[in-house]
Amino acid sequence: MRARSAGRSLGAGGRRMADAVLFEFLHTEMVAELWAHDPDSGPGGQNMSLSVLEGMGFRVGQALGERLSRETLAYREELDILKFLCKDLWMAVFQKQMDSLRTNHQASPLPRGPTSCRTTVSPSSSGWPRACSIWRKHPRYGGAGSPPPFHSPCLPSPHPRVGPGPRERTGRTVKPEAQRGPGPGCWLPLPTVTCAPRPQFLAFTCGLLRGTLCTLGVKSLVTASVAALPACKFQVVIQKS
């Protein structure tokens, strides 16, 4: 039967892609369902929605972290942990490594400031980031105290789908994420970001990173920003107890 042989031809690489697609679609629906649609809900409602998404990502990151090998869990240096995130975890989750990691030097009394770390991101139709960079910032210069609710960075609209999707063909309204205006309560960790904020698509990822770091013994605050698609930056602030 033709259908059976078509199914069997899917190799390991194809199977991995199918898993990724399933997760991307689930993430898109989660954001659509949990993101505060009501424009009257105000900044409080939207920040709560972002916190919910970030919290879910945190729990998933913790669970993923617990399934890591013992060699990984034995990392002692924070830099080694961040390198693990950039190389191994990112490769496993997003099929791409981060290009580079920049960090200030905590030992020096005057931090030199973060070096930029850009990665090119292959566009994703669901808006799920394919790769991003991590900034590490000294806690004295940001993110003091207990992590606040998720701060919404400025993000542009999610990458549009190429070609008409099934919803367009049936005449249904495409979900209006791309038409939304700037949201309130925007925190800009980077200067001069002039784009409509779409923080809901990166909230889960930030939580995922924070959760994995937590399992590896690093308490952190993770925020994301997109200056220009397809690049994306994650800022990791290590919380010192």
């Binding site: 199918a18 879910m56 975890l89 989750v93």
Partner: protein
């Protein structure tokens, strides 16, 4: 580094169900939203499935159900449910799941959630995907191991086409 993709999906799904249980008191509401989200996924997933699998045109409901079980479930969840036909008109089928990766990290339903259909997303996905290829169907869980049943069974009932219904009314 082990492949985390499937775990990522399963864990994320678990976090989603937990969040919906916090947001909605009634199991029926959680089931409804899982089905609704699954429907949204299914309407998009079917395109991805058709592009990857290159299945040809089907000529019967039985053939379609076989493809769902042997190709689609295999492709996305790595399992192959068995298919049974439940009636002589051959429009009611069951998918029997021996293994269900979505419940890999679930031991039992939360307390006070005895009517929760934990995997109701799957029903919505199947329903949404079928609707995109112009097939209306009711898809529900008939049995669920998490509820104490011996197997997990998804029932698919292909509904009559609207033109046939209109014809009957005119009579």
């Amino acid at each position: 580094m082990y492949l985390v993709n499937k775990d990522l999906f399963v864990l994320t799904y678990g976090a989603l169900v937990a969040q919906l249980c916090k947001d909605y008191e009634k199991d029926e509401d959680v089931n409804k939203y899982l089905d609704k989200m699954g429907y949204g996924i299914g309407t998009r997933l079917v395109e991805d499935f058709l592009a990857r699998s290159c299945v040809g045109r089907c000529h019967s409901y039985s053939e379609i159900t076989d493809i769902i079980a042997q190709v689609a479930f295999k492709m996305y969840l790595g399992i192959t449910p068995s298919v049974t036909c439940n009636n002589s008109s051959r429009n009611e089928f069951s998918l029997i799941l021996d293994k269900n990766p979505l419940v890999e990290f679930v031991e039992e339903l939360p307390a006070g959630r005895s009517s929760l259909c934990y995997c109701n997303l799957l029903c919505g996905i199947i329903r949404g995907a079928l609707e995109m290829v112009h097939l209306a169907a009711d898809v529900t869980f008939l049995q669920d191991r998490l509820k104490g049943d011996s197997v997990t069974e998804i029932g698919i009932t292909f509904l009559k086409k609207p033109e046939e219904k209109k014809y009957r009314r005119k009579k």
